[in-house]
């Protein structure tokens, strides 16, 4: 939204009172000459209430103000201690509200809500979790000097020579998690150019991480987008296998593991020359997971394994499944000399797919569907729509088996919100809930999880200060369960989900002392909305994922049944409940 739009809503409040500029100029001159400058203070009125700061000069009366502040504080503390009259209105909540089960859905047709076809199950609230609340872990707390040089702090230092300590890999399915992370890695700070104010230039690095056999592969980039990067492999027992420090003009992030899923395997990392940010896609460079040494690019490896390609090259990874990668010349087909390669992840043996007959007009994007089949999609207002599927021989327009159903959130002026629609694979509307306004911003909106569709919905349209999370029957949109936001505002959130389970986050609020409360994470069985006993983490940052730019610093990646959570200067690796791994901590570099 352009700045101008907002400025159109500004009235005379942006113009100073006549004479104020001169008054302040006089005050500043007087202050400069007197040599006395008033420190910041909390203005107090005679009755002990905060009041407007008096205009300059304000040197006099500091002692009085301090004394009054002390008195006010003492009074407030004494009254908070129990002697105060009880407030007529409830004090702000200081604990997170428990999820509130909804009544069975309204089965009347008056509101247009679909009639449930079977009895519904409300979520069972878990007010007394079986375990004590585990807190994720601490962040690094060392102070970064204001004059720290640009780069990482502490500075990146290469090391190596430590072998993989185990061959543990991720179980394939997601479900209940251990109470504590198996591995916590504390990260260095990122220090930006020295001409920024310290508060802006000292931040967390941009971190990415993925599970590798026996550990985690981590890439850290500078927060300001260029400068040196750090690549490291850390074993699950906390030992650091190796650390690589890249040249200052390269940006690196791990992409995924290609090749045998065993110790000694290689991964490919995305490496982009920071001096050529206009490159359509960075190269994917092989890295040896045992030593950290870089090798050829993925395109070079594929060419080596497929000499028949005779120079036809595709370097852009546009899709991946458990068994295959899909490489393309570009992310969108151009219709001229497009190369599409379906590559076996283990052997790198490639199959060149036939020309799809695309043109620059229809902007078809190649990818792999959930079953691992190559598909072409086009962008529509309701989301990507599959238009062709590769059946093993030719591109087919029969997309019924390839296109996945999805939930669309569209404008609905009648409710002031955005009604939820469920579309089949071909884009046809299966059901529509005009009474539910979905979330249209960045972040989680809705997801189809088998028989249940999960969605964030506005609870008080059109203001939408409260956001519930609902479980709807995928078949007809009937409501199965709902987690209700508190009356005074707040929002339930949705984290990683899959294989019948989802992590939900309770609404957050502000306590009387200004601190945040709530925001705990709970594991929920998607079919019933039931919170699982013992699956509760009080720390709101545990599985946090941010949007709108923050995702580069705070996000969660699911590797099968393992979550790798990057949060500012901490990475935590969460294995399923029952995994026998002693919690370990490592510090980079």
């Amino acid at each position: 939204m352009p700045d101008r739009w907002i400025r159109d809503h500004v009235g005379d409040e942006a113009s100073p009172r006549p004479g104020f500029e001169e008054e302040l100029a006089d005050s500043l001159r007087a202050a400069w000459r007197s040599g006395e400058v008033a420190p910041a203070r909390v203005p107090i009125d005679a009755a002990g209430r905060p009041r407007r700061r008096p205009r300059w000069p304000i040197v006099a009366g500091i002692g009085t103000a301090a004394a009054l502040l002390a008195v006010l504080t003492a009074v407030a503390i004494a009254r908070d201690d129990g002697s105060a009259p009880r407030p007529a209105t409830p004090s702000p909540a200081t604990s997170a509200p428990a999820p509130i089960p909804t009544a069975p859905p309204d089965t009347t047709a008056a509101t247009g809500r679909p009639t449930p076809t079977s009895p519904t199950t409300a979520p069972r609230t878990s007010t007394t979790p079986a375990t004590t609340a585990p807190v994720a872990s601490t962040m690094p707390t060392e102070l970064v000097p204001a004059d720290a040089p640009e780069g990482f702090y502490p500075a990146c230092a290469e090391r190596g020579g430590v072998a993989a300590s185990s061959e543990v890999t991720a179980p394939p399915t997601f479900g209940p998690l251990a109470a504590d992370p198996a591995l916590t890695v504390l990260l260095p700070a990122s220090v930006g150019p020295v001409d920024y104010p310290a508060a802006q230039r000292i931040t967390s690095p941009k971190g990415t991480a993925t599970l590798i056999p026996g550990g985690v592969l981590i890439a850290l980039n500078q927060a300001n987008g260029d400068g040196s990067s750090l690549l490291a492999a850390v074993n699950l027992d906390g030992s650091v296998r190796w650390v690589r420090c890249t040249a200052a003009d390269q940006v690196v992030s791990p992409y995924d593991i290609v090749g045998s899923n065993a110790p000694g395997a290689t991964a490919f990392v995305r490496r982009r020359d920071a001096s050529h940010l206009g490159t359509p896609d960075p190269d994917m460079v092989e890295v040896n997971l045992q030593t950290g040494e870089f090798g050829p690019t993925l395109a070079e490896r594929v060419a080596e394994a497929n000499p028949w390609l005779d120079g036809a090259s595709a370097r852009t990874l546009v899709g991946q499944s458990r068994t295959h990668l899909l490489l393309a010349s570009f992310g969108v087909l151009s219709g001229q000399d497009d190369v599409l390669l379906l590559v076996d992840r283990t052997t790198l043996i490639a199959e060149r797919l036939p020309d799809a007959g695309a043109s620059t007009d229809n902007r078809q994007s190649p990818s792999l569907d959930e079953a691992g089949r190559p598909v072409l999609t086009v962008s529509t207002p309701a989301g990507p729509q599959v238009v062709a599927v590769y059946d093993g021989t030719v591109w087919s327009a029969d997309i019924r088996s390839a296109a996945a159903p999805r939930v669309a959130v569209g404008d609905d002026p009648a409710t002031g919100g955005s009604a939820l629609s469920f579309l089949d694979g071909e884009g046809g509307t299966v059901w529509r809930r005009d009474d539910l306004a979905g979330w249209r911003g960045e972040g989680f909106s809705a997801a189809v999880a088998g028989d249940v569709t999960i969605a964030r919905v506005c609870a008080d349209a059109p203001d939408c200060s409260r956001w519930d999370v609902v479980g709807l029957r995928t078949a007809d949109g009937g409501e199965i369960w709902r987690f209700v936001a508190p009356d005074d505002g707040g929002a339930w959130g949705v984290g990683p989900l899959g294989d019948g389970f989802a992590l939900l986050q309770e609404p957050m609020g502000t306590a009387v002392d200004g601190s945040s409360t709530g925001g705990a994470w709970v594991m929920v069985e998607i079919a019933t909305g039931q919170v699982l006993d013992g699956q509760r983490w009080e720390d709101p940052t545990t599985f946090e994922a941010q949007c709108c730019g923050g995702g580069e610093f705070v996000h969660v990646r699911r590797n099968g049944g393992v979550l790798v959570a990057v949060n500012e200067r901490r990475i935590s690796v969460w294995f399923p409940d029952g995994t026998r791994l002693a919690p370990a901590t490592a510090t980079l570099p």
Binding site: V10, G11, R49, P50, P197, G493
Partner: protein
């Protein structure tokens, strides 16, 4: 003396010249944050320049830019808002009165100033400062989704009023 937007503020004359050159924009920004509370905007601007003067006179600040003052206004406003919030809640306990900002004021025609303090701060940070929601949340001490909701609510109100006027 000014070079590429950097004002040398190590002398009285330099500081006052910088003040003269930046005042209008700094005040306008403070005014947007404070809405109809003109006293608060004046306090804010007053504090920011005074603090800068203190630093300049002490040798800690030799040059300043418009960005420096805008950033100072933003931080100081949010700090004050958060402190006031805490204070207000404590006073609510003492005096058994509802918080004055509990209900948004009726919105006059499409005016940013009539949003609640929180809504206005979020809107200014997002659409004037172009900060991502995550940073707004951090600066305002909110969760990201709370900040998203706040922004969403504020924009809906503005748009609704705008549509009504139209």
């Amino acid at each position: 003396m000014e070079t590429n937007g950097d004002w040398e503020v190590g002398t009285e004359a330099g500081f006052i010249a910088c003040y003269r050159a930046t005042f209008a924009e700094v005040y306008a920004y403070a005014g947007m944050l404070c809405g109809h509370d003109r006293d608060a905007a004046e306090d804010l601007v007053h504090d920011v320049y005074l603090t800068a003067l203190h630093r300049a006179r002490g040798g800690d600040l030799s040059t300043a830019t418009i960005g420096y003052f805008i950033t100072s206004v933003r931080r100081r406003h949010i700090d004050r808002w958060r402190a006031n919030d805490r204070e207000r809640q404590r006073l609510t306990l003492v005096h058994s009165q509802p918080p004055p900002d509990a209900e948004p004021a009726p919105l006059p025609p499409a005016m940013l100033a009539a949003l609640t303090e929180r809504e206005r701060a979020a809107v200014v940070l997002r659409y004037v400062d172009d900060l991502p929601v995550a940073q707004i949340a951090e600066q305002m001490g909110l969760g990201v989704r709370a900040a998203e909701s706040l922004l969403s609510r504020a924009i809906r109100r503005l748009r609704r009023e705008e549509a009504r006027d139209a």
